[in-house]
């Protein structure tokens, strides 16, 4: 099946006087990596929050796989295959890497209203958690307490948590934030490898990553999409150059 996996129509959100999302319409195709770029405070994170369901829009519609999910609670959206990661790392710091990921696996593996059997003995959860840890480059750190991981490792776990929900569409909010060049390369490799199975809406300031990964790019400025197109189209778009990219890309 082709056609858009995610469709956003006329989404609107304001905080007091600030218009954070201004009539945003956007589509993410199946199998597409769609980058969302824009200056600080443009409203990228706010848009992710509305798509993932933690923030209710003032107006507009969100369709996922053709169904209207605008009023669906977040956990239902996750069960349906829509997961996000966070710009500011949000993991379970006192749990081990395996326990972190096993939590996300558990959420989609039957009911958690189980009061008697120790969850630590559910090897199926742990095995899957370890496989995901390996996938995001944490294979050697499965027993480490998440809070004790290095910054880049925590960022990998951050993305791993979203991945462990087994999503159809991943909303990644600056996955490379604060990563060194080597670590960024690894993350690019990971996202590249995901493209077979998962569609991605990628918010990222690292233009190298964006132009290497994205099938299409949308540019958000002051809450509004000012352009959507292929990397080549966006690179030469005069309005985008003026509002955001400047000399960054031509250099």
């Amino acid at each position: 099946m082709t056609g858009p996996l995610l469709e956003i129509e006329g989404l609107q959100k304001h905080f007091g006087g600030v218009v954070a999302t201004d009539q945003v319409s956007l589509g993410v195709m199946r199998g597409e990596i769609h980058a969302l770029i824009g200056p600080n405070g443009a409203g990228k994170t706010t848009l992710i929050a509305q798509i993932s369901g933690s923030l209710a829009p003032d107006a507009g519609r969100i369709l996922f796989g053709g169904a209207d999910i605008t009023r669906q609670p977040q956990h239902t959206r996750v069960a349906g295959g829509l997961a996000r990661s966070y710009q500011i790392t949000s993991i379970f710091k006192r749990f081990s890497v395996t326990q972190n990921l096993a939590l996300a696996v558990q959420a989609r593996s039957g009911t958690s209203f189980r009061f008697w059997q120790p969850v630590a003995r559910e090897t199926a959860l742990e095995d899957e958690a370890r496989a995901i840890a390996a996938q995001v480059g944490l294979g050697e750190r499965v027993d480490a307490i998440a809070g004790s991981l290095a910054h880049a490792e925590q960022r990998s776990l951050e993305v791993g948590l979203a991945l462990a929900t087994n999503p159809k569409l991943l909303l990644l909010d600056e996955p490379m934030a604060g990563m060194g060049p080597d670590e960024s390369q690894r993350m690019i490799g990971l996202i590249q490898a995901l493209r077979e199975k998962v569609s991605v809406l990628l918010v990222e300031h690292d233009m190298d990553a964006v132009f290497r990964l994205a099938d299409r790019i949308s540019v958000l400025v002051n809450g509004a999409i000012i352009a959507t197109g292929t990397p080549d189209e966006i690179r030469v778009n005069p309005e985008v150059k003026r509002a955001y990219l400047g000399d960054e890309v031509s250099a």
Binding site: H75, S90, R94, A107, S112, F115
Partner: protein, 321 residues
């Protein structure tokens, strides 16, 4: 905590009434029963406050609802514990479900205040129940009956029943916190936002924990009413909720034995200060018995400063290293 230590304490708890009987000090058995009942109440609060991270300031409402349910059953001529105590749990559990369904939509200080407000409402409700004693309270003509040739009027038998219930409840909680449900509520305490983002309806799990804790609190209330053969609205007063919170903090927030240690510690301290003249202390400070609350405050301060995991945390840290 170390298994051998737990087993040793349990053996002492079983032997305690026999030793007291041979010393002709059965008064202490009655006192110990009261300690164990509060241990159960504090343990049930620890499930929400400690493991679930929900700072409920109204737990006495559930204890009180259970106490009144069990008392009313006796007064109305249905003294069977097999009927009255499960009913007390059901009433308290449902009450917690209703209060939780509203309160758990709020966060932080609002949650503390709204649980407190609901509990005070129930407190005033019991005062207005003139048919069941109003603010005078309700005296029970007998204790509940359990069959099997056991007579709860006998203080030693009553003690063993309380001990068995406490052990069962702690075992239940120990299973629960290591099961899927327990991991979920502890993860919600740690990072509720992320739990939603990986697919958990956090509210439902919190509500279930809140209701379960309410039901266990109700059971403690039923035992307390029987122990005293009396119940009055004071059992629901907000100071009682505060006392349970102090027990949990003292004993260890989110520690399996925190409620027990805290209850015995606090009540033991109170008992010591109120009823036993401590010679050296009186020599330094003759009026100390009038200021027993100060001692409790100081103990709490010491715990918060030097043992943030409570007294139980001191043990488990030593055990692990």
């Amino acid at each position: 905590m170390n298994r051998a230590l737990v087993f040793g304490v349990l053996v002492l708890a079983v032997a305690f009434p026999l030793a007291m009987r041979s010393l002709d000090q059965v008064y202490y058995v009655t006192m110990a029963s009261r300690f164990l009942i509060y241990a159960l109440a504090a343990t049930s609060l620890n499930l929400v406050l400690g493991y679930g991270g929900m700072i409920s300031f109204g737990h006495a409402a559930f204890v009180g609802a259970g106490a009144y349910t069990a008392s009313v059953m006796i007064v109305e001529g249905l003294p069977s514990a097999w009927l009255a105590w499960p009913l007390a749990m059901a009433v308290s559990g449902l009450l917690a479900l209703a209060i939780g369904a509203i309160s758990l939509r709020t966060r932080g200080v609002y949650f503390i205040m709204i649980t407190l407000a609901f509990a005070q409402m129930i407190y005033y409700l019991t005062i207005s129940m003139k048919a069941y004693g109003g603010d005078e309270g309700l005296t029970l003509t007998q204790r509940a009956t359990v069959g099997f040739g056991l007579d709860l009027k006998d203080d030693i038998t009553f003690y063993y029943v309380v001990l068995a219930i406490l052990v069962a409840a702690v075992y239940l909680i120990s299973r629960l916190v290591d099961a899927r449900f327990g991991r979920v509520i502890q993860a919600i305490r740690e990072n509720e936002t992320r739990m939603e983002a990986i697919g958990y309806p956090a509210f439902r799990y919190k509500l279930a924990a809140f209701a379960l804790a309410g039901a266990l609190g109700g059971l403690a209330g039923a035992l307390l009413a029987n122990q005293n053969s009396y119940v009055n609205p004071g059992i629901l007063h907000w100071t009682e909720s505060g006392k349970l919170m102090i027990m949990v903090i003292l004993g260890g927030v989110g520690q399996l034995y925190g409620g027990i240690i805290g209850a015995i510690g606090l009540l033991g301290l109170e008992e010591l200060l109120a009823n036993h003249k401590i010679g050296w202390l009186a020599a330094i400070y003759p009026n100390y018995q009038q200021h027993s609350l100060l001692a409790v405050g100081l103990a709490l301060l010491a715990v918060v400063l030097y043992a943030p995991q409570g007294i139980a945390g001191l043990f488990s840290r030593r055990g692990r290293k």
